[in-house]
Symmetry: C2
Subunit: 441 residues, 2 copies
Amino acid sequence: MSQEATWDMLVLGGTVLTMEPGSEPIANGAVAVADGHVAAVGPAEELLELAPTGEVLNAGNCLVLPGLVNTHAHLAMTLLRGLADDLPLMEWLENHIWPAEREHMTRETVRLGTELAVAEQLLAGVTTTADMYFFGDEVSAVLAEAGMRGVVAESLIDFPTPRCATPEEMLEKQRELLEAYRDHPLITPSVAAHAPYSVCAANLVKEAELAEDFEVPMQIHLSETSWEVENLLQEKGLSPVAYLADLGVLSERTVAAHCVHVSTEDIGLLADFEAGVSHNPVSNLKLASGVSPVPQMVARGVKLGLGTDGAASNNTLDLLRDMQLSALLHKVINQDATTLPARTMLEMVTVSGARVLGLEKKIGTLAEGREADLICISVNEPHSVPMYDPSSHLVFAARSADVRHVMVRGRVLVRDRELLTLDQERIEAQAREFSETIRSD
Amino acid sequence: MSQEATWDMLVLGGTVLTMEPGSEPIANGAVAVADGHVAAVGPAEELLELAPTGEVLNAGNCLVLPGLVNTHAHLAMTLLRGLADDLPLMEWLENHIWPAEREHMTRETVRLGTELAVAEQLLAGVTTTADMYFFGDEVSAVLAEAGMRGVVAESLIDFPTPRCATPEEMLEKQRELLEAYRDHPLITPSVAAHAPYSVCAANLVKEAELAEDFEVPMQIHLSETSWEVENLLQEKGLSPVAYLADLGVLSERTVAAHCVHVSTEDIGLLADFEAGVSHNPVSNLKLASGVSPVPQMVARGVKLGLGTDGAASNNTLDLLRDMQLSALLHKVINQDATTLPARTMLEMVTVSGARVLGLEKKIGTLAEGREADLICISVNEPHSVPMYDPSSHLVFAARSADVRHVMVRGRVLVRDRELLTLDQERIEAQAREFSETIRSD
């Protein structure tokens, strides 16, 4: 902090949770933003004494915290939200989702579905999202235009996608994406292999090499169902996690989605290789895949984030709701009400999620020098009163509809619950039209 | 329907889900209300042709359905929301909640906490709530003033409460409540015995007789924890459910909260005695009590409703969120994604919940002649688009913040998300003051 503070914006009032290790909430706090970064954090009184320049964003009666990080999603699948519910994974995937994707997912509909997902997530306080889908260049363009942060992959799978006919073509498109978005301030390009059961060993290795060459995350679905684990054990004699380790594919670049059916040995491998895991509780419950041993992974030091998965298996991208559900779920599964306390859950959607996506130097806490991704959550409704503890409030009582302001890299994207960078009405109208097309199939 | 329709209000537009058995959603529907009752339901075009009198409530871009029914709550405990989290039930209850209640719960604070609970529930689309606490006359007065429907009990327990020194005094206060609220249009007075482990057999029997005399529901916590079940098995050689049956206490008047640890025999007894069960998933998860075998109870024909429990173990009264969590939870526990499909869950918070509270002739569906308790849920936000199926949308995607209008017995209590019958600002300010008092202990 300097005496000649030149700030672009001062987020003023409210209680600030920086999410720095060991930090306490700052009542009547403030966050100063300059050049897209956090310039200062502290009591409002102290920051105001520096007689700052810049606009004020009113965070009175709010909790101010780092923007939420969604570590696993398929954004464009918002268009398939609620298309097929109450069905088991394989029937859902093979008889409903994949046919709908083959028939209806084009560059244009991927743009539309991604716009809808960005609108939904920003309004729900999610400032960074992973994406694992097709037309990664289109997805990246939508995110960049809307000002949202993303870790975006073009997907690799051993059968034709809506975009590419062969894995070779997919790898080529992946390389193009990695080159196009090198050093972008908001978009981290990424690679993604669908799963160990749908991508052959040779392609998994190619994928890991590409991630290594470009120093980017590699997203993959891993140990989602017991079927997947049993199958691989039978075919290769290895669990999916051990199989990736054996291939040399598992690394600190890995973003492994699900990890529902992982053994103690698997958890050890994930921790030792410093692989990131995205826990996607709602999807795992909805498809009856199982419950991931999250407390055991936390205890072993695995990097853990929280993901919504695609809207077709959730059916929202409401990370705050999913955090609440996860906090409650693991208490009963572990028969211990002290399991995963509120602070641990909050870390999972902020600082720990950032680590999973390799973004821990940029985002995840509100420390000076970090990029200014933050949200203001209103605590002015009956369900927010009284509030004995802010962390507990966020985990057990807050709603995504309480999100009042959203900032990414210093730019206000949502102000007073209004989305500023996307035409919400046009997007919703087009999404409704799209659903009429599917319905008339 | 007559050609000279004289209606007080026409709820117009939107898709109407009457929740009548086998009914289909009515697109561009309408609900006519006269004298506090549903006078007609059908396509808007048909109802408008009757050239009705009366005000129009705009439900365009909404789902219109019966108001939600909360079958188990301790309303005034909103004041203890988040006071003690991430703790096991007995520690939570004995070291935190009971001491706070003894110290701070008076007639005045019960009024305040109940007002806060009514405000929260109405804004979340809950139109009928059970309550099991102290100062039932004060609770009833608050509900009646706010226009909300309630099944209200004065509680009986074998040790002193904030109101009464002895069980005899409690029974006397119960009788007074039953007499005062006979035939009230909104309040069903009720009795409540805390639990089989905290109320002796003689008092349980007295309580059931009182319920029988006045033909009212008898609320009770039942088989909430494994500790409770093991204890009773050891002491009496009977499960809590069998014990109540043995005492002659179990009947169609029973509203049994929790029923987490119930055997196949217990489930059979609950079904055969036509007892109602309130499933309270969030509370059971948060306190790590266990997961109630809901699908098994549904299969056996047990009357089932959904409850929030008190805000101290939830931490909200957001029944819609709790329904979503329940729908997801039982799929994974039963390892079957088809478990408790959306329609079943919706019935649980409407028509089936009404049956549990003995109100099935008055509320629970939007059939002609029922009392006009209804809610309009907006589907105009990104997370609501597209919407392939209204039931699925409500169970997997809708949020309580989407509730736009709320009507109870023909009276609009919430319009365009604004609470009309309570002073929200004053209540929140007083609740904050109350929390400062506890904090300074």
